[in-house]
C-alpha cells in the first residue's frame, strides 16, 4: 500500500468543498445604497424646494448624485473600515456611470418616440409629401414620404458604391498585403475620423462646383460613400482576418488561384461578419446630416429621381422643419426623427443578430441542410 493511498484512507470523510464566493451582493451593501439614495433624495428635495434658490431638473439630479455619494460614504463608514468603504464607493461611481450611459440612450430613444408619436400617428405622415402643406397647416396634412424615399435611394446608392470599394480595400489589406497595407490602414483610420461636413464640402467643391452637376440625391450619395467606405473597410478587415489560414491553404493545395480562393473561400466564410460590416456602415450613413445638407439641396415636394433635381432625405427634413416656430412643423420634424431612429435601430439590431456568429460557424438553416444531406447520403 503506497503512501498516497494510506493518506487517502486516513482522511475519508472530508466535507465536500464549497466554492467560496468572492465579492457578490450582500444585503448590507444593497441596503446601504438604498438608504443613501433615499436619504439623499429627501435632503436634495429639502435643499431645492425649501432652502436654496435653485431650479431645474438637471441641477436637481447633479446635487442628488453628489449627496448620494456623500451619504454612501457616511453610511459605509459607520459599518466598515476605510478601505472597504473606498472600494464600495468606487464600485458605486463606476456602476452609476454605466447606468448613466444606459439611461442616456434610453432617454434619447424614448424622448424622440414621445415627441414624434404625435405626427407619426397620423397615417398621412407616411403617405404625403410637404408639397401642399403651408407653415400653419394642421398635422393631418403633409408628411415625410418624400424624405423616406430620398433617404432610401441615397442610402442604396451609397451602399452600392461604398461596399465593393470598402470590401476590396479590406481584402487588399489582409490578403495581398505588402508594404502598402500599413499606410492604407493608417489612411483608412484617418478617414473614419473625417469630419462629416468636410465630406460634404468636398463633394460640393468637386461634383457640384467644378463638374457643374446640379445638387441632387446622387451627389449626396457620393458624400455618404466617403463617410461609409472607411467604416465598412475597418469592420470587414477585422472579420476577414478571422478566417482560418488553413482554409486558404486547403484551397491553394487544391490548385486554386488567389482570386478563386478569395471569392470562393475567404469571402463566403466571412459572410456574416461582412454583412454586419455593411449594415453597420448603412446605420451610420443613413443618419448623416451635414454631407447631405451641402449636396442634395432641399425640396418640399416628391422627387424619386436621385440623378436630377433636389432631393430631400430624413436628416435634412428634420434639420429644416424643427427650426420652424410652428409647433406642428416641429412635431413633423420629431416624427421624421422617430422614423430615422427606427431605421437606425432596425439596421443596428440586424447587424448584431447576424454578427453574433464567428466566421465559419453555420447558421441554423445551414446546419439543418447539412444534417438533411448527411441523412440522405
Amino acid at each position: 500500500m503506497s503512501v498516497i493511498e494510506r493518506t487517502a484512507q486516513a482522511v475519508p470523510t472530508a466535507p465536500a468543498e464549497r466554492r467560496v464566493r468572492l465579492g457578490g451582493v450582500t444585503r448590507e451593501s444593497v441596503l446601504t445604497l438604498l438608504g443613501a439614495a433615499a436619504g439623499s433624495l429627501a435632503l436634495d428635495w429639502v435643499l431645492y424646494e425649501r432652502v436654496l434658490p435653485l431650479s431645474g431638473a438637471f441641477g436637481f439630479l447633479v446635487v442628488w448624485y453628489l449627496l448620494f455619494l456623500a451619504m454612501t460614504w457616511g453610511l459605509g463608514r459607520l459599518q466598515w473600515d476605510a478601505r472597504t468603504v473606498r472600494e464600495r464607493l468606487v464600485q458605486t461611481v463606476v456602476g452609476s456611470s454605466g447606468v448613466l450611459v444606459v439611461a442616456l440612450i434610453v432617454d434619447q430613444i424614448v424622448y424622440v418616440a414621445i415627441r414624434g408619436s404625435h405626427a407619426a400617428s397620423h397615417s398621412n405622415f407616411f403617405t404625403q409629401s410637404m408639397e401642399t402643406t403651408a407653415t400653419l397647416s394642421p398635422i393631418t396634412s403633409g408628411g415625410a414620404l418624400n424624405a423616406v424615399v430620398g433617404s432610401l435611394e441615397q442610402l442604396g446608392l451609397a451602399t452600392l458604391f461604398a461596399v465593393p470599394l470598402g470590401i476590396a480595400a479590406a481584402v487588399f489589406m489582409s490578403e495581398v498585403g505588402g508594404r502598402l497595407a500599413r499606410p492604407v490602414r493608417t489612411v483608412v483610420e484617418a478617414m473614419t475620423a473625417l469630419p462629416s461636413i468636410v465630406a460634404g464640402l468636398f463633394i460640393l467643391g468637386v461634383v457640384i462646383l467644378s463638374l457643374g452637376v446640379q445638387k441632387c440625391g446622387f451627389a449626396a450619395s457620393l458624400a455618404l460613400t466617403v463617410m461609409m467606405m472607411p467604416i465598412v473597410t475597418r469592420a470587414a478587415e477585422v472579420v476577414i482576418r478571422l478566417v482560418p489560414g488553413t482554409l486558404r491553404e486547403a484551397s491553394y493545395a487544391l490548385g486554386g488561384s488567389q482570386w478563386r480562393t478569395v471569392l470562393n473561400v475567404v469571402l463566403p466564410t466571412a459572410r456574416p461578419g461582412l454583412v454586419t460590416a455593411v449594415v453597420l456602415g448603412m446605420a451610420r450613413g443613413v443618419g448623416e446630416t451635414s454631407p447631405v445638407l451641402l449636396t442634395s439641396g432641399f425640396t418640399s415636394g416628391m422627387n424619386a429621381d436621385p440623378f436630377s433635381d433636389h432631393q430631400v432625405s430624413l436628416p435634412l427634413y428634420i434639420w429644416n422643419y424643427v427650426r420652424y416656430p410652428a409647433p406642428d412643423m416641429v412635431a413633423r420634424g420629431f416624427a421624421a426623427a422617430l422614423t430615422l431612429m427606427a431605421m437606425v435601430l432596425v439596421l443596428f439590431v440586424t447587424a448584431r443578430l447576424i454578427g453574433g456568429r464567428r466566421p465559419g460557424d453555420l447558421s441554423r438553416r445551414q446546419r439543418r441542410r447539412l444534417q438533411r444531406e448527411m441523412a440522405a447520403s
Binding site: G23, S55, S97, E175, V176, P195, V198, G205, Y252, V322
Partner: protein
C-alpha cells in the same frame, strides 16, 4: 501573404544532399523563392490594389480641392485669414480667429464632461459589470455611437436646454465671481443662458462618450491576466488592482482615445449648429449665449451664393480637415507607442 511557395528549379527539392557532400559553403545560400502569378491573379491583385490606393486618392483629392477652391479667399485675405475674428465676406473682412478657438472651447467642454463619464463607464464594463450583461453593455455603447447626430441635436435643443438653464444660472451666480469664465454678463434672463458653448459642449459630449468608452474598454480588457492575478495575490482590492494594473496598462490607449474624441468633437456639426446662436468673437465665457465653430459656420453659411463666400468656407474647411488629420495622426502614434497599443496591434 498567402502566396504559392514553389521551387524555381528542381535542385533544392527533396533532401538537402549538398550539405552532406561538403560543397563549398559559399554555394549554400538561401534559395530565392518566387511565386508564379497567373494572369487572373495579376488582374485581381491589381484591382484590389487600386481599391486600397483609392483611399489615398480620396484623401488627396479632399485636400487638393479644398485648397484649390479656397485659394481665392486665401489670396483675398492673406494672412489676416488667421487673425481676423469677423466673417464678413461681402466686405472682404473674414478670418477664422474667432470660429477656430470657439470651436476648440466647445470641444474642450465636451471633453471635460465626456472623459470622466466614458472612462468610469469603460472601467465598469471591463472590470465591474457582471459577465452576463457585459456584451449587452458593449452593444449599447456601440448603439450610442450609431444614433444620428441630428437626434442628439434635437434632444439637446428641446429636452436638455430648458432643464439645464436653472443649473447654469446657479453656476454663474455662485461660481462666476471666483472663476471668470463662468461669468454671464448679459443680465439674468433665461435667454442669456441658452445657446451657449456649455450646452453645445454637453450635447457633443454625448457623441464622444461612446468613442472614448469603447476604445478605452478595449485596452482595459487587454490588461494581462497574470498581472491582475499578481496584484490580487499581493492582497490588493479590486480598485487597487484596477488602479495599479489596468489603468497604467491602458494609459497610452486612453490618451489616444481622448484625442480621437477631441478630433470628433471638433468636427461635430449638426448638433452644434442647431443649438448655438452664432457669434464672431472669442470671449471665453462658456455659459453665455453665443458660440461658434468652423463646422457650424459651414453648415449655416453654405447657402451664400457668391464665389468668395463659398471659397472662404472651403478654406475654413481645409483648416478643419488638416487639424483633425493632425489630431488623429498624433493619437494613432500615441496609441501605437503605448504598451496597450502594442498589444492591440496586429
Amino acid at each position: 501573404m498567402a502566396d504559392f511557395v514553389t521551387a524555381d528549379d528542381g535542385q533544392g527539392t527533396g533532401l538537402d544532399a549538398s550539405s552532406d557532400a561538403g560543397f563549398d559553403a559559399g554555394e549554400d545560400r538561401p534559395r530565392r523563392i518566387t511565386a508564379p502569378v497567373s494572369a487572373g491573379d495579376r488582374i485581381f491583385r491589381g484591382l484590389l490594389r487600386a481599391a486600397g490606393l483609392s483611399v489615398f486618392a480620396i484623401m488627396g483629392l479632399i485636400a487638393f480641392f479644398l485648397l484649390y477652391r479656397g485659394l481665392q479667399a486665401l489670396r483675398s485675405s492673406g494672412w489676416s485669414f488667421f487673425t481676423e475674428q469677423n466673417w464678413l465676406t461681402q466686405a472682404h473682412v473674414f478670418g477664422i480667429a474667432a470660429v477656430l478657438p470657439d470651436g476648440i472651447i466647445i470641444a474642450l467642454v465636451a471633453l471635460a464632461i465626456a472623459v470622466p463619464v466614458a472612462l468610469t463607464a469603460a472601467v465598469f464594463i471591463s472590470e465591474y459589470a457582471p459577465v452576463r450583461i457585459r456584451s449587452a453593455l458593449v452593444s449599447l455603447v456601440d448603439l450610442m455611437a450609431a444614433i444620428p447626430s441630428i437626434v442628439y441635436g434635437l434632444w439637446g435643443l428641446f429636452f436638455l436646454q430648458p432643464r439645464i438653464v436653472g443649473f447654469v444660472r446657479w453656476l454663474t451666480m455662485h461660481l462666476g465671481g471666483v472663476l471668470p469664465f463662468l461669468k454671464v454678463r448679459t443680465g439674468d434672463i433665461d435667454t442669456s443662458y441658452t445657446s451657449s458653448p456649455f450646452i453645445a459642449g454637453t450635447v457633443v459630449s454625448l457623441m464622444i462618450i461612446p468613442i472614448i468608452a469603447s476604445l478605452s474598454r478595449e485596452v482595459f480588457s487587454q490588461a494581462p491576466q497574470g498581472e491582475r492575478e499578481g496584484a490580487y495575490a499581493l492582497g490588493s482590492t479590486r480598485w487597487g488592482m484596477v488602479r495599479k494594473v489596468v489603468l497604467p496598462f491602458g494609459r497610452g490607449g486612453v490618451i489616444g482615445a481622448v484625442m480621437l474624441g477631441f478630433g470628433r468633437a471638433m468636427g461635430e456639426t449638426i448638433a452644434v449648429a442647431l443649438i448655438i446662436s452664432p457669434k464672431f468673437l472669442v470671449t471665453g465665457h462658456i455659459l453665455e449665449n453665443g458660440a461658434n465653430s468652423i463646422s457650424a459656420l459651414i453648415a449655416l453659411r453654405f447657402g451664400e451664393s457668391d464665389a468668395l463666400s463659398l471659397s472662404a468656407l472651403m478654406a475654413a474647411g481645409l483648416v478643419l480637415f488638416l487639424l483633425t488629420l493632425l489630431v488623429n495622426m498624433v493619437a494613432s502614434v500615441v496609441i501605437g507607442r503605448s504598451r496597450s497599443g502594442a498589444a492591440t496591434a496586429d
